[in-house]
Symmetry: C2
Subunit: 337 residues, 2 copies
């Protein structure tokens, strides 16, 4: 039986276009049924432009309101009680869907998920986990990337446990290596928060490799990297900004002479391959770990491919029963922490 | 009269080779006299391999000990009282040199500088400032990148004032735009530290543009970006690591097919130009702002070109009388903060 995924059809910057195209691709290529959530007239009109959709396991559930990128999270959650986010997450709570995907306002999606789904036992704060490619071709996962700004050591421990389970569920790694993002390898290095968290982490039955530095994110020598949401969000945005800048400079360099333009015609395939490798759209969004239900948050700039991948990730996490594992292992970790 | 710069000749990973070659290049191309500090027999032997050096304003001052990358900073400073770092910084304190450059152990260089030179009035903590290129071709400066791990809002205010003066001195920008590294544009966004610092910064007579996010580092829309040393060091290492990874993937992509190899022959110049643009060696090291004297810390992997540029930067900062300006403006800022 296909997994039912509720998709906030009004989330992304160019919604509902990428959402509807992504839903069609996902329904066609993966074993999923997609429930598009949003203003029914808008969604039906857009769906009519894709006659093939009628044959696919796609349906529409009406929600009269839309939370925009400009909305303040806390306010929007209270004021817009019939938003596409809230209605979509309610489908998960009621068991009508096994997972929820949104490319909308991250703060509002997280706040709504906490409100509607609640948190798992043993979790003080849900965490947003970002996945990116490393230099050796493997994936690595950084969390928290924005859900929690001021953290205590116990929060970081919970992030480590959740991130480790997520990584195992997604990539099948038996013993993912877990590192603590800091500014030196020795356990005495770092700030107050990381030094205290280090002491807790080394007591857990995790494959804890100790402190890792900013440059290690891409080394492939660590799978799950734990930090507070302030540091993690800055790290994530730097990666996006720098990759964008390097490609921009590359384009400028290439256009600067006829010879390099000619050269580019030959190496274009290679550069495109590279770009695809570090493209956020391939990663399929960041799951919000620790809420009672699968919730995947995709980039606001998501295209159809990114939406399709986020749906695939949500279905995979539901099938892997990740939340049950988090609940079990956190209750074991709580004995130590 | 040439500026006299004391150079720790034993700092870099491949010392003293890059130091001596960098000193020769600096003495040849810039209006400086370089004092090489380190074990005299070692330095004289290496200098003999460069007969041209005899004609240049280069001299040697003996120091019997060397602080290695493996040394613990605090310990090394106490134990190695005749280290090349300490002897070099003493030359600055005694007025025999106007600036000091080291590509050695960053922690030890900072601790020794604080000990030997002391801090400027109004400065609670010196800060390490890193300079990097932006997408529009201008430079931007991030501080602190590692000198201070747990900071209070007043520390960040001092970093802002020092960074602004540094940027003006180096790049001649009349009103550098100063931003606070955070995770959202609104002043209510960020962690406790940045929210409090925001309130102080907006009262200062700086061109304060508010919060900036990780991706804005390279936008060219902000000149000086302020953060605590934990966040700054992670940010810096991520930039190095990611740039390194992208170039690695690029090389792999290019080698993956004959067509792209042929293409690369044509566009090689463009790629080299790009690499140079984002090469740390061009930036000339990070000044330690707030100590009583000019102290520039270069990367441990520095080559001769990086050493030469660090010497140029140190001489420029001395000529710009940056420290006197910091002292004056901090006493003005103290009235507010």
């Amino acid at each position: 039986m296909p997994s039912v995924i509720a998709l906030d059809a009004m989330g992304s910057d160019r919604a509902p276009k990428p959402e509807i195209e992504g839903a069609i691709q996902a329904a066609r290529h993966h074993d999923v049924r997609v429930v598009l959530v949003g203003p029914e007239p808008v969604l039906s009109a857009e769906l009519e432009r894709h006659p093939a959709a009628a044959e696919l396991p796609i349906e529409v559930v009406h929600a009269s309101e839309v939370i925009t990128m400009e909305d303040k999270a806390a306010q929007a959650v209270r004021a817009k009680r019939d938003s596409s986010m809230r209605v979509g997450l309610r489908l998960v709570r009621e068991g009508k869907a096994v997972g929820f995907v949104s490319a909308g306002n991250t703060g509002a999606a997280m706040a709504t998920a906490k409100l509607v789904l609640g948190v798992l036992p043993g979790v003080d704060r849900p965490a947003l986990a970002a996945v990116f490619p490393t230099a050796v071709g493997t994936a690595a996962c950084l969390l928290d990337v924005g859900a929690n700004v001021d953290c205590n050591p116990e929060n970081l421990v919970q992030f480590a446990v959740m991130g480790e389970i997520y990584f195992r569920s997604m990539f099948g790694t038996r013993r993912p290596r877990v590192g603590l993002l800091s500014i030196g390898e020795e356990e005495t290095k770092g700030n107050e928060l990381t030094r205290d968290a280090f002491q807790l982490l080394k007591q857990l039955p995790l494959n804890f490799v100790g402190n890792v530095e900013g440059g290690d994110l891409f080394s492939g020598e660590v799978d799950v990297i734990v930090c507070d949401g302030f540091v993690g969000n800055i790290a994530l945005k730097i990666c996006e900004g720098l990759a964008f800048q390097i490609f921009g400079l590359l384009r400028k360099s290439i256009n600067s002479s006829l010879a390099s333009q000619v050269g580019f015609l030959f190496s274009r395939g290679a550069l495109k391959g590279l770009k695809k490798k570090i493209d956020y759209a391939e990663s399929g969004g960041a799951p919000l770990l620790g809420v009672r239900g699968v919730c995947v948050i995709a980039h606001g700039r998501s295209n159809a491919n990114a939406v399709k991948n986020a749906i695939r990730v949500a279905a995979g996490l539901a099938r892997a029963r990740m939340n049950e594992k988090i609940e079990q292992e956190l209750s074991a970790a709580a004995v130590i922490a």
